[in-house]
Structure formats: structure tokens, C-alpha cells
């Protein structure tokens, strides 16, 4: 019975696109993929913009400290089965922003990544190929297995698998605290 429904996965992958502080180069390329020239919608792909109904998480940018709690929250809000695609050099490794004081050097420190798409910015052909690979991985995933962010191991005493608790614990640890340095006068 469930084998029947699994066949239709590759025909309608819905995308959630999140920008974790990228320069907008990769975002423009993703938009170009959805536009008339590359037309991802012919494969049934639409940019849903809603984590609860999306299947593929496309992340661009090197994860700034402001964005990391939201990235974890969006990842947790997506229902299984889901796949994560890191688009562009920044999302893969940090790119030109690597080792700067305000970034986290790529998304794979936080959430499990299935496909890495290189390039600065990633070309639309590469993005289409990456999404195709992501769909292949997505077809093998189980609905029953709950996937949690990698950084959950760093937080002590998490035993529950309740999403709301996990989200609040992650936000507590990774939400950015603004430190305003006062001028000494």
C-alpha cells in the first residue's frame, strides 16, 4: 500500500528555500531555476515557502549567528521524509566568509545535509542536478524515522522526541544574544 504512494514522491517535490545570510547570488539562481528558462515546475516542483508542507530544504548562505536558531526551527518544523540541500560554496563550507567572527562555516554543523551543490554562485544546471540527486535520496527515506539536528547531542538531558520541546531547547541555546559594547567615556 505504501509502496504505491512512494512512487509519487519524485513527481511532486515541494521546496522550502531559506537564506541564512547569503549574498543573494545563489537565491537569484534558485529563482532563475523556477523561472521560464529552466522551469523547474515542469517536474512538479513548486516553491512552497512553508516548512509544514515542504519536502526539500534548500539552504543558501554561511549561517550567520542570527540565522542559526531559525534554520534549526525550520528544519524541525518540516515533516518527515525530508531532505536538505546546501546550495553554493557558503552553505557547504562557509565560502569566502569562512572563519569570520559572525558565521558558522556552513550548515552541516547543525543539520544533516544530503546533497552539497558547489559554486559561487551555484549555476542553475548544478542546482537542477542537485535537486535530482536529492529526490533520489528522498525516495529511500522512511516516514517513520524522526530526524533530529546534529547539534542536539551537544545539549545535555534531551530524552524526549517531542518537536516543540526540541525546538524550544535549540532556540534557547542558539538564539543570538545581542551584546552592545558601550563606549568608555
Amino acid at each position: 500500500m505504501f509502496g504505491f504512494f512512494k512512487k509519487f514522491r519524485k513527481k511532486s517535490p515541494w521546496i522550502l528555500h531559506y537564506n541564512t545570510g547569503s549574498c543573494n547570488g545563489c537565491d537569484i539562481e534558485i529563482m532563475a531555476c523556477l523561472g521560464p528558462k529552466y522551469d523547474l515546475e515542469r517536474f512538479g516542483i513548486i516553491n512552497k515557502g512553508n516548512p509544514k508542507q515542504a519536502d526539500i530544504l534548500l539552504v543558501t548562505g554561511p549561517v550567520t549567528k542570527r540565522a542559526r536558531a531559525r534554520l534549526l526551527r525550520l528544519y524541525m518544523q518540516m515533516p518527515e521524509p525530508k531532505v536538505v540541500v546546501a546550495v553554493g560554496a557558503c552553505a557547504c563550507t562557509g565560502g569566502v566568509f569562512r572563519h569570520m567572527y559572525n558565521v558558522e562555516n556552513g550548515i552541516d554543523r547543525f543539520i544533516p545535509v544530503d546533497v552539497y551543490i558547489p559554486g559561487c554562485a551555484a549555476r542553475p544546471e548544478n542546482i537542477i542536478e542537485g535537486i535530482k540527486k536529492a529526490i533520489e535520496i528522498w525516495e529511500r527515506k522512511q516516514k517513520e524515522k524522526v530526524e533530529v539536528p546534529k547539534v542536539l547531542k551537544e545539549i545535555p538531558d534531551v530524552e524526549t522526541l517531542d518537536r516543540r520541546e526540541i525546538i524550544s531547547k535549540l532556540e534557547e541555546k542558539y538564539s543570538e544574544r545581542l551584546v552592545i559594547e558601550e563606549d568608555e567615556k
Partner: protein, 278 residues
């Protein structure tokens, strides 16, 4: 006649899905894209069955299913019921279930979408009621079979009201320029934002039934001339899809002014004119 209408009502989610698939194809072709296959809505439907459903709370999920059931019931009431006015009120009830679901969660987008949905009901439904009155005035029957077998052609007597009805279709189907309650990437679907998996499937399918509901009402303006009715439906949907591609989203105040300031007086004028002139 009764048997055909019953079968049509029973198959209405499937036909509505095909119309939605056609819409996506047509819109893509208008933008010089290839577009998804016509069966794409059904692929989405089957995929959503195999997704994990995250519930916010049980009342919210129940309202999603109630929206689908009530919308289908409204289509049944329209096609085999005694009175098309009752079907229009049942349609309002279906939308109110959806609104109640939207209000029941904490998400601000959901609440805002539900508020805007209420404005949509307020803008569109009076004109649907006027359309039912117009059909009664020109054919002398509240019943769908009576309208389909009468000798008159309602659109010839009610051209202004039909124009108003055609411009109501974008408000009812939430298409641009009046896609205010759905507003993709602004409030991301509005009241449907918190549904997932099976429960989103119900909401997604209920929206296909809206095509059938408004399509049948437009079809009735052809009276007993079924070819004219079919042409009217095709022309209306093509016009709405073209309008969707060609315009941007307007504000909620503009929609209310447009519906109550232009469309409703237009429809009322046509009805009074016909009622007095007879």
C-alpha cells in the same frame, strides 16, 4: 438528469483536480514555460498521503477535514438539492469551518489569513446570492433541474450581473488580483499554513471543489442551452487565469470597495431593471 447530476457531484473532486491541473498548465504556457503535467494535482495528492502529519491540535485538524466535507456537501446541495440558495449558504458554512480552523492556532499568519478569508466571504457571497436571485427571476425556478430545462437563457437578461459574477470568481478562488487571503510568500497560504500531511490534503482538495461550485453557477447562466453554458464556463476560467497572470495583488480595502461599490450595485441594478421591466 438526476442520475447525471449525482454522478457529476460524486466525481467533482476528480474533475476539480483536472481543472486545477489545466489551470497550472495554461498559466505556465502563458508565461512561456512548459508547465507541469495535467495530472500534477493528483501526484501532489498521493505524495501528501505519504507525509508525516504534524498536528497542532485536534480541533484544527478537524476543521481542515470539515472544510472538505462541507465543501463537497455544498456541491451536492447545488447539484441535486431542491434550492441553489441553500447550496450557497452551505458553501459559506464550509468557508467558515476553514476560518475557525485558522483562528484556532497561535500562528499570526494563520490568524491574519483567517481574517482576510472573512473579508473574502463578505465580498464574494452577496454576489452569489444575487446570482441565485437572478436565475430565479429569469427562469422562475430555484431548482437546478428547473433552470436547466427552462426555455429562457438567463445571460441575455442578466448581462451586467454576469459581468459582476465573472469578476467575483477571482475573489472566490483566491486568484490575483484578489489573492489576498492566500498571498503566497506574504502570509504563505494564510489559514492553511499550519496544516500538513493528510490534513493539508483535505484543504488542498477542498479548494478544487470551489472550481466546480463556481463553474456550475456560471454554467447555469446558459439555461437550457448547454453548449452556451460550457462556452461561458471555459471563457470565464480562461479570463480568470489571464487576469491572474497579468495583475498583482491589491489591498483588502480595494477589494471591499470594488465588490461593494461596483460589483454589487451593478448586479442589483440588473436585477431591479429586469424585475420592473417584466
Amino acid at each position: 438528469m438526476k442520475g447525471i447530476l449525482f454522478t457529476f457531484a460524486l466525481l467533482s473532486p476528480i474533475i476539480g483536480g483536472l481543472i486545477y491541473g489545466l489551470e497550472r498548465k495554461f498559466k505556465a504556457r502563458m508565461q512561456n514555460r512548459q508547465g507541469p503535467p495535467i495530472l500534477q494535482p493528483f501526484y501532489d495528492f498521493f505524495k501528501l498521503t505519504d507525509k508525516r502529519a504534524l498536528q497542532v491540535h485536534s480541533f484544527h485538524s478537524l476543521m481542515g477535514i470539515a472544510f472538505f466535507v462541507a465543501a463537497w456537501f455544498a456541491v451536492f446541495a447545488l447539484l441535486i438539492g431542491p434550492n441553489i440558495l441553500i447550496a450557497i449558504f452551505l458553501h459559506v458554512l464550509a468557508l467558515l469551518f476553514f476560518t475557525a480552523g485558522g483562528f484556532s492556532v497561535k500562528s499570526p499568519y494563520s490568524v491574519m489569513g483567517a481574517l482576510r478569508e472573512l473579508a473574502h466571504i463578505l465580498a464574494a457571497e452577496p454576489i452569489l446570492v444575487f446570482a441565485a436571485i437572478a436565475l430565479y427571476l429569469s427562469t422562475g425556478s430555484w431548482n437546478i433541474e428547473g433552470i436547466l430545462t427552462s426555455n429562457t437563457v438567463p445571460i441575455l437578461q442578466m448581462p451586467l450581473l454576469f459581468c459582476a459574477l465573472v469578476l467575483t470568481v477571482p475573489i472566490l478562488l483566491k486568484r490575483s488580483p484578489f489573492d489576498i487571503s492566500e498571498a503566497h510568500q506574504e502570509i504563505i497560504g494564510g489559514a492553511e499554513i499550519e496544516y500538513s500531511g493528510l490534513f493539508y490534503e483535505a484543504v488542498y482538495t477542498a479548494k478544487w471543489l470551489e472550481y466546480i461550485f463556481i463553474g456550475v453557477i456560471v454554467f447555469l447562466f446558459g439555461g437550457s442551452n448547454y453548449l452556451l453554458g460550457a462556452l461561458l464556463v471555459a471563457a470565464t476560467f480562461l479570463f480568470v487565469w489571464l487576469l491572474d497572470n497579468a495583475t498583482t495583488r491589491l489591498t483588502i480595502h480595494y477589494m471591499m470597495k470594488f465588490a461593494w461599490g461596483i460589483l454589487l450595485p451593478l448586479a442589483a441594478f440588473n436585477i431591479f431593471w429586469v424585475a420592473i421591466w417584466r
